[in-house]
């Protein structure tokens, strides 16, 4: 990478003046301080006035309501929850539902996005046209429309549980969602978990050894048979010795619905599908732009070193492209997270639906609840940005 000439470190006064918008002298500073003070005063007046008026109209305010019993149920809760829990628990249940959709959505959006981008860049005519078509179709339709499409046109068209589609006699697909056998740990579970852990550590050690060999003696060694052996072979042997690590609870049709097993509710499936395929279209374009931004000479240099096309992409092009890709990719991750609040349209119990929806109308404390909800979304977004910035920083450091 090229070395840019560095500017001499500016003096404190100059930096301050620059930070204040370039106005010279103390007069400028005075104006700025006055402006900030006026802003603070207006903010204080609004808050104090609202508070006084809430009191005169005897509208309950404050955060006491969070301790009250919620008294309503939620269709998907990742932590134990019942109607007798307080509103703080509702907030947590909603937050987790938002996070699980966001994280799984981001994962699939990234994978699909990269694949579509590579497809679009591929020399194969058909593949590149199909990938192009995917991008143009999905990014040009409103995302709420896509969510409703998956929910009302695709998933709702499935049969009711009594006529559900069965796979292998234990997976059931119906308009109540996708029911799968639920794994339950047995006595053999602990040795199995230990074996998996050992396998992961061993694989990491193999990889380190192979790198050192490469850098010290220039020898490339093939480690994948060892990695497969320790990741799959070891746990397999353990479970043969100690017995199967889990048994499966097979879902059964009882009354209106399945009992036993685990279930992905259709609202979750529709929302995750729609958000990840929609966002993937944008990610594909970002990745494509990133890869194209790397000079063609890099590809040719890789080829002349005798690297395969895949290795050149993986070792040379993608790491350089990532510097271009990461900032707009972060935007897409944030968009996906925020778009998950469209869940209320299909009854998925996300943060916005259970907290800024049901809780708000049961307690009527709009200012507090909208405030908390905005704060939580802001926090999620800031944490996502921070993680991405950290990753970006590491990559740019490793590229030197």
């Amino acid at each position: 990478m090229s070395i840019e000439p560095r500017a001499p470190p500016p003096q404190f006064a100059a930096r301050l003046r620059h930070a204040l918008g370039g106005r010279a002298g103390w007069r400028g500073l005075f104006v700025q301080i006055l402006f900030v003070a006026a802003l603070a005063w207006i903010g204080y007046e609004i808050a104090a006035n609202a508070r006084a008026n809430l009191e005169t109209q005897r509208i309950t305010s404050g955060f006491e309501f969070l301790k009250n019993t919620a008294g309503f149920d939620v269709s998907q809760n990742l932590i134990p929850y019942s109607g007798s829990d307080p509103y703080t628990r509702v907030l947590l249940v909603g937050l987790l539902n938002t996070l699980v959709v966001s994280i799984i959505g981001i994962f699939f959006a990234t994978v699909i996005g990269f694949l579509v981008a590579l497809g679009r860049l591929s020399p194969n005519w058909l593949l590149s046209r199909i990938s192009g078509g995917y991008v143009e179709l999905l990014r040009n339709l409103p995302v709420l429309f896509q969510i409703l499409f998956w929910y009302l046109a695709v998933l709702a068209a499935l049969q009711n549980p009594r006529q559900s589609v069965a796979l292998f006699g234990s997976f059931f697909l119906s308009n109540r969602g996708f029911v799968i056998p639920k794994p339950i740990g047995t006595a053999g579970f602990e040795p199995f978990a230990v074996a998996v852990l050992v396998g992961i550590v061993a694989s990491l050690l193999w990889r380190r050894y192979a790198r050192r060999q490469l850098f010290e003696s220039g020898r490339m060694i093939r480690i994948w048979p060892y990695v497969v052996g320790s990741l799959i072979g070891l746990p397999l042997v353990t479970s043969l010795v100690f017995g199967a690590p889990v048994t499966f609870e097979i879902p059964e049709l009882k009354g209106f619905n399945f009992s036993g097993g685990s279930r992905l509710i259709p609202e979750f499936v529709a929302l995750t599908l729609a958000l990840s395929t929609y966002t993937a279209a944008f990610i594909a374009e970002i990745v494509r732009a990133g890869i194209l931004s790397v000079h063609r000479g890099q590809m040719e240099a890789g080829a002349s070193l005798g690297l395969s096309r895949g290795s050149t992409l993986r070792l040379i092009v993608v790491p350089q492209a990532l510097r271009v890709i990461l900032p707009p990719l972060t935007n897409q991750y944030l968009n996906l997270t925020k778009n998950s609040s469209l869940a209320v349209g299909i009854g998925y119990p996300d943060l916005f639906s259970v907290f800024a929806g049901t809780t708000l109308s049961q307690t009527g404390q709009a200012i507090e609840i909208i405030g908390i909800t905005m704060g939580v979304y802001l926090l999620i977004s800031l944490v996502t940005s921070a993680i991405m910035s950290f990753y970006s920083w590491r990559i740019s450091r490793s590229l030197g």
């Binding site: 609202a50 008026n53 109209q57 009354g255 609040s341 009854g347 639906s353 929806g357 049901t358």
Partner: protein, 337 residues
């Protein structure tokens, strides 16, 4: 949905930071229009026809208020509200009256900065199911999926009922009643639940109403009524007495047809009501002929009930609890004197 509630919250924050003590009647007269919060379309209670005219029992309350204030039932701006936005809209001053099938409860009366002015309809929560399920009682609904509109008392009643009867269920809560009904119709849920009057109304919107039945159980008390903001007792009195006037008119036998003849009557209670004796209407801040204005516009309570939800409407709901107190129901209004 989201943008609407954010807008109302901002309006609430802004309104609260500027608004002085409200003089609602004066504000409305200066504006030349009553702002009335209604539902987003619930046949029988508040729904627009194909020309955009709002009709319904809840709408009639607003029409009656407008008639009493302006002598003109068209001077109303109807604001359609979702269940969860309704209170914020009232608090922020966006609307003057909330007449939107809202259940009177203690917490709503005390903590929202608003008051209920009376009961326009005594309701209770029930269940709508497909006849093909062959369910005859709500007690057979163990493990059912239930579709519901979020932001109502319905969700809590549902939780209480299933818990109390030791039954399991799955609740799917939607932002609007239309979304919930659509999901019910598509088969996502076995049951749709809301107030019984609402079930009859929503059933009319289904593609084949005859395939669906309302179960006999009524699992809660849902007295529905209009709301006004705290802090303006005169306005509170006006909205309260407009409803009382409609109920008293029915009791006195005053109808839309005979109102002009009755106004000439010599009976003392009729003379007081029609303002030929005393100035009761003026004490409210209205005019002496307020009762005849109301009855000419929307009729008495019974006429409004029959036209919108009762025997004269598509819903065909029996008077039941909403019959007058002297005819076997519990509708009762204090006397106009």
């Amino acid at each position: 949905m989201k943008r609407v509630s954010l807008a109302f919250t901002l309006a609430l924050a802004a309104g609260l930071s500027t608004q002085a003590t409200a003089q609602t009647l004066k504000t409305i007269k200066d504006r030349g229009m009553l702002s009335c919060g209604v539902s987003q379309g619930l046949p029988g209670f508040s729904s627009p026809d194909d020309k955009g005219n709002w009709t319904g029992l809840d709408v009639d309350i607003c029409r009656a208020v407008a008639a009493a204030v302006f002598n003109d039932p068209t001077k109303i701006k109807f604001v359609p509200l979702s269940a969860k936005d309704r209170f914020t809209a009232l608090q922020s001053g966006e609307i003057d009256v909330l007449s939107r099938n809202t259940t009177w409860t203690l917490s709503r009366d005390t903590s929202l900065g608003a008051n209920f002015t009376g009961v326009t309809y005594y309701d209770g929560q029930g269940f709508l199911v497909k006849k093909s399920l062959k369910v005859n009682s709500a007690l057979e609904l163990n493990s059912a999926s239930v579709c519901v509109q979020t932001g109502t008392t319905t969700e809590q009643n549902l939780a209480d009922y299933f818990k109390g009867n030791n039954m399991k269920y799955e609740v799917i809560a939607f932002g609007t009643a239309d979304e919930a009904v659509k999901a019910y119709e598509s088969g996502r849920c076995d049951v749709f639940t809301t107030d019984v009057s609402g079930l009859y109304a929503e059933r009319l919107k289904l593609s084949n109403p005859a395939d669906h039945a309302v179960l006999p159980e009524v699992i809660s008390k849902e007295p529905l009524g209009p709301m006004v903001r705290h802090g303006d007792d005169q306005w509170f009195d006006i909205v309260k007495w407009v409803l009382f006037a409609m109920i008293d008119a029915e009791e006195l036998g005053v109808t839309q047809k005979n109102v002009d003849d009755m106004a000439k009557s010599d009976k003392p209670e009729l003379k007081r009501a029609f303002g030929t004796d005393g100035n009761l209407g003026e004490q409210l801040g209205l005019t002496k002929d307020w009762v005849s204005r109301i009855v000419k516009t929307v009729g008495n309570y019974g006429e409004s009930f029959d036209r919108n939800v009762g025997s004269g409407s598509k819903l065909g709901i029996a008077r039941g609890l909403n019959q007058l107190w002297n005819k076997g129901g519990i509708q009762y209004a204090p006397p106009i004197r």
